[in-house]
């Protein structure tokens, strides 16, 4: 009799623990997915802002036609990109082109004095920051999730559920971003 109770007790505790682990994993997974959709929202916003910005700075930056063209092309590519791999690559290119544009704009005092343009610049800066913060949050929560499903004994439980819990890929710094920028100081 006593042994039966002990066995039942152990089973109940085990079941409760299983439920706890499962729910925890589901919560973490949802958080990662939500982080992913946040990135999408910000990318969409970036695409919407670019045409306005390019139109307002065109007049001031006649000598930077090449940079502006690159931004417009990169945007077109990013909007039409299909599939995750292509999308990530196109967005990275767009990010690089925008970064250059924002850096060059610093050299044009007239441009910064124009309230309309400076507002757009601020909006673009904040969108760029939001994208990188959203990625950062995605990476942080995905790492947490990936660790959780791999440590023992969680990995055994994950095995029961087949493909429900799979580790997320992380954003990594590309070769282009990793390289130090060339700064030419020979005026």
């Amino acid at each position: 009799m006593v042994i039966l109770f002990v066995v039942i007790g152990i089973l109940v505790v085990l079941a409760l623990w299983l439920i706890g682990v499962y729910n925890n994993l589901v919560t973490l997974k949802k958080r990662v997915e939500n982080a992913w959709s946040q990135i999408d929202v910000q990318l969409k916003r970036r695409h919407d802002l670019i045409p306005n910005l390019v139109n307002s700075v065109k007049g001031y930056m006649k000598f930077e036609q090449e940079t502006l063209d690159k931004v417009i092309q990169a945007r077109a590519k990013a909007v039409s990109a299909q599939g995750v791999g292509d999308k990530i690559k196109a967005e990275q290119e767009l990010g690089g082109a925008l970064g250059r544009l924002l850096a060059i704009a610093e050299n044009y005092p007239d441009l910064k004095a124009n309230t309309n343009v400076s507002q757009l610049m601020e909006e673009l800066t904040t969108t760029e920051n939001k994208i990188s913060y959203a990625r950062q949050f995605f990476n942080d929560s995905a790492t947490k999730f990936n660790t959780k499903i791999e440590i023992f004994p969680n990995n055994v439980i994950v095995g029961f559920f087949g493909g429900k819990f799979e580790s997320f890929p992380l954003f990594e710094v590309t070769e282009a971003e990793r390289g130090t920028p060339n700064v030419d100081l020979n005026f």
Binding site: E122, T126, N129, F137
Partner: protein, 314 residues
């Protein structure tokens, strides 16, 4: 919240059990605790914002627009669903900020206009990161609850003390006139009441003293913790460190802040000297850790280095 109620009831129960008058004090404490909790939780935010004369953000001002953007950015970094509301205190001579609100969903971040004018984007991000982590860690709720508990204890202590004084003044006269008829039983009950009231007042004083010290200790550790979280969010320790530097070197005292709200701010708005000393006794009584210490942790330098650098100001 439950913890607070349970603690208040337990406090009442102890008194009741000691003196064997079971339901009275437990009920009194329950009532006080409920009222205090309700008041502090529902109106804390509005009261604080009104007391520091804060106003809502102006969306068309470029600097305030940028502030709003920074708050939104870091809310994403912290994984908050809805970014907190932003308020501004119009005082160009002060660089300071605080966060308040009981839940993540209706929290508030408030900065001075001096902060907007004097700090650049990076530095402001550091400060906002610090305030956001107060919100995410629910520090404000914790602090509000401790102060509400303290408030309730102080009220009880004052009531008991008042009653004791009144009883000694009038009760003693009454006892003296009655003692001609000399009834020993009467004397005993008078002594018991005096002892009881004295015990309540004494206990209350002790509780509020210990409570105050622990509130300060919690406040200080939470500041360090929020600094660390700010760096985790912005991945940029120099932003916050430079912001703290500017606060030390060029911020004036905030006129609208007071002792009750001082602990909410990122750095002591009253600029009390005690908050910059590092001795054991000073650190027991300060609401904020010394800024030099915070900068030295953020920049991984020794305390003496930073103190030497800022020696003109602290």
């Amino acid at each position: 919240m439950m913890v607070f109620l349970v603690m208040m009831i337990a406090f009442g129960l102890i008194i009741d059990l000691v003196f064997g008058i079971l339901p009275i004090f437990t009920l009194v404490f329950l009532a006080i605790a409920s009222i205090q909790t309700l008041v502090s939780l529902t109106s804390g935010k509005e009261i604080v914002l009104r007391s520091v004369k804060a106003r809502e953000l102006k969306a068309n001002d470029p600097e305030e627009r940028q502030l709003k953007n920074i708050v939104d950015e870091l809310s994403i970094a912290a994984g908050m669903g809805k970014p907190p509301e932003v308020y501004v205190i119009d005082d160009d001579s002060v660089i300071n900020a605080f966060a308040t609100g009981r839940k993540q969903e209706d929290s508030v971040i408030c900065v001075t206009s001096g902060l907007l004018k004097n700090l650049d984007r990076e530095e402001t991000s550091g400060v906002i990161g610090h305030e956001l982590s107060h919100i995410v860690n629910r520090d404000i709720l914790l602090m509000t609850l401790i102060s509400a508990l303290l408030g309730a204890v102080v009220i009880v202590q004052l009531l008991a003390f008042r009653a004791l004084i009144t009883y000694l003044r009038f009760g003693a006269i009454g006892a003296a006139t009655r003692s001609r008829r000399s009834s020993k039983k009467n004397d005993n009950s008078a002594l018991a009441i005096i002892a009881f009231l004295a015990a309540v007042a004494g206990l209350g004083a002790l509780f509020s003293f210990i409570g105050r010290l622990s509130l300060l200790a919690v406040s200080r550790t939470r500041e360090y913790f929020a600094d660390a979280r700010a760096v985790e969010l912005t991945r940029n320790p120099s932003g916050l460190a430079n912001a703290l530097r500017k606060i030390v070197t060029s911020s004036a005292k905030l006129q609208t802040a007071n002792v009750a709200t001082a602990h909410l701010f990122i750095s002591d708005p009253l600029k009390r000297g005690i908050n910059n000393r590092t001795s054991f006794f000073a650190s027991l009584w300060s609401t904020h850790p010394p800024i030099a210490m915070r900068i030295s942790i953020l920049e991984n330098k020794t305390l003496t280095e930073i103190e030497a650098e800022l020696s003109d100001y602290i």
